[in-house]
C-alpha cells in the first residue's frame, strides 16, 4: 500500500503536557535569557545570549527535517 510520507510521521494522540513540553522548555529558556541579561554586564550578558540563541536555532533543526516535495526521497521511503 502506498503511504504518503507525512502520514507516516503522524503520531499517536499525545497528552496536552506532551504537546506543550517543547514550547514550555523554549519559553523557560527565553525568559531565563531575558532575565539573565538584566542581572549585570559581562558574564550574565553572555549567558543571556546563549540562552536566547537556543530557541532561535530550533528553526534550523526543523528546517533540515522539513517534509519537502522530492520524488526521489518519496521513492526511497516507498521501497
Amino acid at each position: 500500500m502506498i503511504t504518503h510520507r507525512f502520514e507516516a510521521r503522524r503520531t499517536a494522540r499525545r497528552s496536552v503536557l506532551r504537546v506543550l513540553r517543547m514550547p514550555i522548555l523554549l519559553a523557560i529558556l527565553t525568559l531565563a535569557g531575558l532575565v539573565a541579561g538584566l542581572i549585570g554586564d559581562g558574564v550574565p550578558d553572555l549567558l543571556a545570549w546563549i540562552l536566547l540563541a537556543i530557541p532561535l536555532s530550533v528553526p534550523l533543526v526543523a528546517w533540515t527535517r522539513r517534509h519537502r516535495r522530492n520524488p526521489m526521497k518519496t521513492k526511497e521511503i516507498l521501497q
Binding site: R9, R14, L20, R21, L38, H67
Partner: protein, 385 residues
C-alpha cells in the same frame, strides 16, 4: 478539546489578531530600526557619549549652577525643566521651555560638556529616527494615539494566548517542529505559523506586555505625583509655586540629595512645576547600578528655595514595575548581540503576522466549521484522518 471550545478560541484568535495585525506590522517595522537607535545615532550624528573625555557628568565637572546659567544664555526668557546626566561621559543635557509646565513639543534639549563647560548646541531633532520613534509611540496622534496602541498591544497579547490554546489541538498528533512543506500550501503555512508562533511566544508576550505598560506610563507618573509625591510634600500644601527667579543653588540641592541617598548616581533633576516634581521642589532622581535597576529611580525632594532635603522615598511598586519594564521592551541592556537577537525575533514576529494574514485571506470560502476541522485534525484532511 471540544469542538465548541476550539470554535470559541478560534474566534478570539481570529478577531484579536485581525484587529491588531496592521498596527503590529507598523510597530514591528518601526521597532526594528529603533532597536539600533544608539548605533544609528552614533553613525549619523555627533556621538558625544564616545567623543567627550573626562569624568562622567553624573559624578563630577563644572558646577551645576554654572551649567544652568549657560543654558539660560542660550534660551533667554525660558526656564529650566530637566537636567540629565550621563553615567559614562561628561555629556550633560538641559531641557528648557517657556514655562515650568511646558508641553513636550515646546521643550528644547541642549547638550553640554560638563568637563569643560562647553555648550554643544541643541540636540538634533526632526530626523527620520524621531519620526520613526513618534510613529512607534503614538502614531503621531499624541496621548490618544498612545492609548490606542496600548489597546492594540492588549489585543496582541490576547492573540498570543489564544494562539497557544489552539496550538494544542492542532499539534496533538504532530511532532514538535513538523514543517509539512511537501503538501499543499495551506498545510505548510499552518505549520510555519504554529511553529514560529510558539517559538517567539515568550519573547512576544514580554515585549507586548511591557509595551502596553509603557503606553500607559504618563497616567502612572501622574498618579505618583498626585498621590505619593503630594503626601511626601504635604506641608507645602497650597503654597504658591516657587517662581524660577527664586530657585536656590542647584549644587547645594545636589549635595543635600546625596546626603539623603548616599552612594547612588543621579540620573536627572526635575525642576519645579513639571510632571516629575511639585511646584516647590527640585526632584533629584537617582538610579540603580545594574541593568536591572538602571531604570529604577528613587527621588530625593529638595526645597527649591533653600536647597534643603525634604524627603526621599522609593517609588510605588507600580511605578517601579513601569521603570523596570523599559529595558525588556527595548532590548538595549545586553550589548549588540542581544539587539541582534531582538531584531531576529522582531522579523520572526513579522513573519508570523504575515502567515496569519495569509491563512485568513487565502482560505477557501466555506463555513467556520472547515477552520475548526483543520485545527482539530492538525491540518490533515478529513479523508486521510
Amino acid at each position: 478539546m471540544r469542538r465548541s471550545t476550539i470554535k470559541a478560541w478560534f474566534l478570539i484568535h481570529k478577531w484579536s489578531s485581525l484587529v491588531c495585525t496592521l498596527f503590529l506590522f507598523l510597530l514591528c517595522v518601526t521597532g526594528l530600526p529603533l532597536i539600533f537607535h544608539d548605533e544609528i545615532d552614533a553613525a549619523f550624528g555627533e556621538d558625544y557619549e564616545a567623543t567627550l573625555t573626562g569624568p562622567a557628568s553624573a559624578q563630577d565637572g563644572v558646577p551645576l549652577d554654572t551649567m544652568l546659567s549657560l543654558a539660560a544664555e542660550q534660551r533667554p526668557g525660558e526656564v529650566p525643566l530637566f537636567m540629565a546626566f550621563s553615567q559614562d561621559s561628561p555629556l550633560l543635557t538641559i531641557t528648557t521651555g517657556p514655562a515650568p509646565d511646558a508641553a513636550e513639543s515646546e521643550m528644547t534639549l541642549l547638550f553640554f560638556d560638563r568637563a569643560t563647560g562647553e555648550p554643544l548646541g541643541p540636540a538634533p531633532s526632526g530626523g527620520i529616527m524621531d519620526l520613526i520613534l513618534d510613529l512607534h509611540i503614538d502614531l503621531l496622534m499624541g496621548q490618544w494615539g498612545m492609548w490606542f496602541l496600548g489597546a492594540m498591544g492588549v489585543l496582541f497579547v490576547v492573540a498570543l494566548v489564544s494562539g497557544l490554546v489552539l496550538y494544542v489541538p492542532f499539534m496533538r498528533r504532530l511532532a514538535f517542529g513538523t514543517l509539512r512543506l511537501d503538501r499543499n500550501e495551506r498545510v505548510g503555512r499552518l505549520d510555519t505559523h504554529n511553529f514560529f508562533g510558539v517559538l517567539i511566544l515568550a519573547w512576544a508576550l514580554v515585549v507586548g506586555l511591557t509595551g502596553v505598560i509603557n503606553a500607559y506610563a504618563d497616567p502612572l507618573t501622574e498618579s505618583w505625583r498626585d498621590g505619593e509625591l503630594a503626601r511626601m510634600t504635604e506641608r507645602y500644601g497650597d503654597a504658591a509655586p516657587v517662581p524660577p527667579e527664586a530657585y536656590g543653588s542647584l549644587d547645594a540641592a545636589m549635595a543635600s540629595a546625596k546626603v539623603g541617598l548616599p552612594n547612588r548616581s543621579p540620573q536627572f533633576i526635575a525642576f519645579p512645576g513639571g510632571a516629575w516634581s511639585t511646584g516647590h521642589h527640585y526632584a533629584v532622581f537617582f538610579q540603580g547600578d545594574r541593568p536591572l535597576t538602571r531604570d529604577l529611580l528613587t527621588p530625593a525632594l529638595i526645597d527649591a528655595e533653600t536647597s534643603e532635603l525634604v524627603a526621599s522615598a522609593e517609588m510605588p511598586v507600580i511605578n517601579q514595575a513601569l521603570m523596570m519594564s523599559k529595558p525588556l521592551h527595548f532590548g538595549d541592556y545586553g550589548g549588540l548581540p542581544l539587539k541582534l537577537i531582538w531584531a531576529v525575533l522582531d522579523i520572526a514576529t513579522i513573519y508570523v503576522l504575515w502567515t496569519g494574514i495569509l491563512l485568513w485571506f487565502r482560505r477557501r470560502p466555506g463555513r467556520i466549521e472547515r477552520r475548526i476541522e483543520e485545527i482539530r485534525r492538525g491540518g490533515f484532511s478529513a479523508a486521510s484522518a
